[in-house]
Amino acid sequence: MARMLKLRIWRGDSTDGALQDVQVEVNEGEVVLDVIHRVQATQMGDLAVRWNCKAGKCGSCSMEINGKPRLACMTQVAAYGEEETITVTPLRAFPVIKDLVTDVSFNYKKAMEIPAYAHPDELAPGEARMEQIDVERSQEFRKCIECFLCQDTCHVIRDHEENKKSFAGPRFFIRIAELDMHPLDTLRNRKKTAQEEHGLGMCNITKCCTEVCPEHIRITDNAIIPMKERVVDIKYDPARWLGSKIRKRDGIV
């Protein structure tokens, strides 16, 4: 049944801001996004919050709830104690615009830096043949809903603004892995550029990206570490390097 919830919402913009306490009605089964919407409709008409599908499929309502990066539409109020105050803030790795809305354009810039899929010239539309087992690894990464929670939690940029220019972040490491594992992609230097241009080596695999992923993509185990191993193949493994010079084998280049 309905009860009153103590909520602390960060309000402000890039110049200043603070946590504000509000009390708001909450019903059984509601998620944090619901109570934020209720605050918006009844107490703060101009409270800024991003959201779209309210079903955990679009990745818009990313914010930090009690300090953890989460989707507000997938966070049950009942997961917290009845007496507990729930604190919501904007993502803390990106510049704030207003209230719970941050400027995530960093991610779209990085997306433009990853070379696109390169289809084999000789394969006309409809001629491609791929086995299910060959597409499954990349399919896992294509589940990504681009909520950017992994980017937000990654300490490489969260704690070091200056790394943003040289580090693509977990979301784009899975993009690179997706393309490198794509059975038909013809671009051959993805491993090298992953290390040299996109900052794969900056990652110290502390797995926070995997922990926050709402799609449960195994970012570290299935994308970042395999990419690090592929980089070792071409850059840090003398035997493999030599082997690849002598005969181009499947999977090495």
Partner: protein, 627 residues
Amino acid sequence: MSELERHSYDVLVIGAGGAGLRAAVEAREAGLRVAIICKSLFGKAHTVMAEGGAAASMGNVNDNDNWMVHFRDTMRGGKFLNHYRMAELHAKEAPDRIWELETWGALFDRTKEGKISQRNFGGHEYPRLAHVGDRTGLELIRTMQQKIVALQQKDGKQYASMESNVKVFAELTITDILKENGRVSGAYGYWRESGAEVLFEAPTVIIATGGVGKTFKITSNSWEGTGDGHALALKAGANLVDMEFLQFHPTGMVWPPSVRGILVTESVRGEGGVLTNTAGERFMFNYIPDVFKEIYADNEAEADRWYVDQDNNRRPPELLPRDEVARAINSEVKAGRGTEHGGVFLDVSKRLSAEVIKKRLPSMWHQFFELAGVDITKEPMEVGPTCHYVMGGVEVDPDSAAAVGVPGLFAAGEVAGGMHGSNRLGGNSLTDLLVFGRRAGIGAAQYFKSNGKNPVSDSAIRTAATRIQAPFDREGGENSYALHAELQEVAHNLVGIIRTASELEDAITQIADIRKRSANVSVSGGRKFNPGFHLAFDLDNMLLVAESTAKSAILREESRGGHTREDFPGMNNKWRQINHISSFDGVQVNVRQQALPALPKELFDLFDIHELEKYMTQEEIAKGGTN
């Protein structure tokens, strides 16, 4: 006042869902400079919600499939009110559009031979839906998003900047389409983030804004589905066709509010889910139409036996067609036997064990558990009809997607009308986006090449700017949230799934009243990312859409597809020949009748004559198609 932000492009695409992005790709590949407007972030459009798949007769699973079979299925689904040419183009071009996505990096599920796998779906004769698990829409939008990036990277190598020829303007709302000398000259809007106004000078505008679900209280659409494109087109002088046709899915979630409207898959009923009202009565037995009496059980014992022995028992009535179930639930709620949240109970917990439920309905279990805190292995779900899709939309020329009556304006995707007739088949929407998105891109490119620029006048800018500022200048006016809630209530109760003349009259009056009051909306707070301000404009659009729907619905005195009249049950073949055309005179929406283009002979001949007799008048049959 700081200087107005101005941009000049060859084509402006409003909407960054499947149709908008596909149009943008085509326009850019034709050599045009393209601006893409998204109301939310890039890649979040409602297209991501599509689960089932994209229908295209590739024949990968059953090689009997071809465009003619697909065309027939689409026409049947739409109860022959479809614009034949759109259905024809769609069926013919869908396979190429899917294969093309693969060359851009899409990874569909595969068959054993390594081809794109295709699944069965309601209304499709053969397995036809290309899919990726239950996230096909996401795959589609991501692929096109990445194709746009690929085009930008190509431009980056050739020109100064990656964004020199295709640029995405995210979180920007268009409030007006501007015209000079009767032709499109650009569009005006504001950044959602800053509230600052923006002018786009562009002689061609492609509208791809999707649906209108937010007009209704319960919908599967996100906040973006506010009929912006429908309203922009109306105000620019274009027409809407057949706005009375809306698709309601019988089982959407109704509580809590966060999940209201989200679809509950049909397989819940297929696996043995039972519908009951608050009196505990399994009410579907009271709603079996005579034509279905042969194949549906009239008692619980037999219905229950069907799950184990389908040969010797009739099907449970929960498995009646979507519209029947939706109407039944609606009647129960209207009769006061619904839950306090306006739904009925759907229960699988009594029939199946917890393990079996989790194994057979894993995504549903998660959906209810994670989003609503309901454990469907222990408790019933609360469900009710949810507004899912609008078949009506901008009246367009099928081949070029050009909006009728406004040179320079194009429309594609859900916002365009005609393709789906009175009812859309599952899986046809995703390929609709691709086929007509591409055609709109080509249409716009051709128009631009022969017409060139069309400068915007200062007076047009002033008018548009005044409109945006207005709600800030008023004080103590109406609250946009409250008006929106009122509109949703009216639309839901009076223009919803079952309609009668008196309720529709009522609705028209009430919508006009809300519209009058909405002219007096005031906004608190500043311009910076202010949702109250944003809603004020969305509301205006929804009101026009609702008016158009209500006025079309009251005229159509029959029940067909997504339009059910309690006072006129059953199809009427005379009405099949008629489209309802909405236009806007600056004050109100006016609806007139227009003849539906008749099937040409070669398409007419694709059907069995006895089937056509169900839909067509004797005279039409005698003619045997045109030409």
